[in-house]
Amino acid sequence: MALDKNQIAKRIAKEVKNGMYVNLGIGIPTLVANYIPEGVEVVLQSENGLLGMGPFPTEDKVDADLINAGKQTITTLPGSSIFSSAESFGMIRGEHVDLTILGAMEVSEQGDIANWKIPGKMVKGMGGAMDLVASAKNIIVAMQHTARDGSSKLLKECTLPITGIKCIKKMVTDLAVLEVTGEGFRLLERAPGVTVEEIQKATEGRLIVEGDIPEVQV
């Protein structure tokens, strides 16, 4: 059975290590914050200018001057700090943020990612995504393995305008956990009950399968 959004987030949360500074993108990545294991202390960076993002506020604490990069109202935590966008992206570009988790429309077997534009259809802009993927030491993509029409989103080459090249190292989809090696998608884990053949069918790019592939534990 394919993983749902919360299960994808839960699996990714296992990649988050104690002491990490983490930037979470919009969508599934945001959910990861809910599954950070007890005892693992991480600091969330919001690229509009906040380090130490806290939970959503209670109704009486809503502050229009305190939002995250998804424009949601949020809170600070003891030890938070606030800064300008130039400082925030200096932090990102300077590789001070340890881990970036973001969504994608397509990923290629070289680790290219496309997630900002569908020509003629969607023009929202890249926001901070190009800075994040060009800079992060460690990027995990959270996405569905296939589009609604069943076509694969794990490709030989991206067909959409790309956000960054050769930058994705790891992916968690509804079907599998994969390492992007530069030569293909190395299958690490499969969703419970999903077969290697099913994953192979859903993957247009080169899938590397070596030995027994365990099931995802979530």
Partner: protein, 232 residues
């Protein structure tokens, strides 16, 4: 200390003309110069180039300037909250330059700090890099990006003093400090204007030298885009 105070938005925007390039602070609707935008609407200046991280929403912020067709060109990083924007863009009425957010922030900072160009990895290998010089440093590829400056910068702060010193509140800081330094004329509007000497010199976010005119905004709506709460 040199006094930068003007009476109101009307006086602050004197000299604003058709065809000018403006920077407008804010991230989404957080920390935008609400009163300056209202005055730009009233003045009806057009053919503007606006540099701002976002383009407001349909019925607020820069979105209002778009509605009135005052903007010729928009330089931004993310414009996803604005259907009218998308319509004007796809129909070719509006010229748009989309820039990675960190590159936008740094190009504006460079404009204020006298740095004509710098190298950044963001956008290398993508369409953002097309036609730009690229270069390798320590085995990694970078694009050369140039500074941005404006005829007027409109910034919004929490507190300001008559010497032009500014303090922002929360994430309403965002692009405001860099834009304050990158405008030929920088107009700061604040929620509370205090006499010089009331703000701690050690806690100033924008030094007064960058601000040519300052006024206390009449009213701040501070609209929230995504009101998200949890139960206590």
């Amino acid at each position: 200390m040199i006094n930068k105070t003007v009476k109101n938005a009307q006086e602050a925007l004197q000299g604003v003309q058709d065809g000018m390039t403006f920077m407008l602070g804010g991230f989404g609707l957080c920390g935008i110069p609400e009163n300056a935008i209202k005055e730009l609407l009233r003045l009806g200046v057009k053919d503007l180039t606006c540099i701002s991280n976002n383009a407001g929403v349909d019925d607020y912020g820069i979105g209002l300037l778009l509605q009135k067709r005052q903007v010729k060109k928009m330089i931004a990083s993310y414009v996803g909250e604005n259907a009218e924007f998308e319509r004007q863009l796809l129909s070719g009425e509006l010229d748009v330059e989309l820039i990675p957010q960190g590159t936008l922030a740094e190009r504006i900072r460079a404009g204020g700090a006298g740095i004509p160009a710098f190298f950044t990895p963001a956008g290398y290998g993508t369409e953002v890099g097309e036609g730009k010089e690229s270069r390798e440093f320590n085995g990694k590829m970078y694009l050369m990006e140039q500074w941005l400056k404006a005829d007027f910068s409109f910034v919004k702060a929490w507190k300001g003093d008559t010497a032009g010193n500014l303090i922002y509140k929360g994430t309403a800081r965002n692009f405001n400090p860099m834009m304050a330094a990158a405008g030929k004329i920088t107009v700061a509007e604040v929620e509370e204007l205090v006499p010089a000497g009331e703000l701690d010199p050690n806690m100033i976010h924008t030094p007064g030298i960058y601000v040519q005119r300052i006024f206390q905004g009449e009213k701040y709506e501070k609209r929230i885009e995504q009101r998200t709460v949890r139960t206590a």
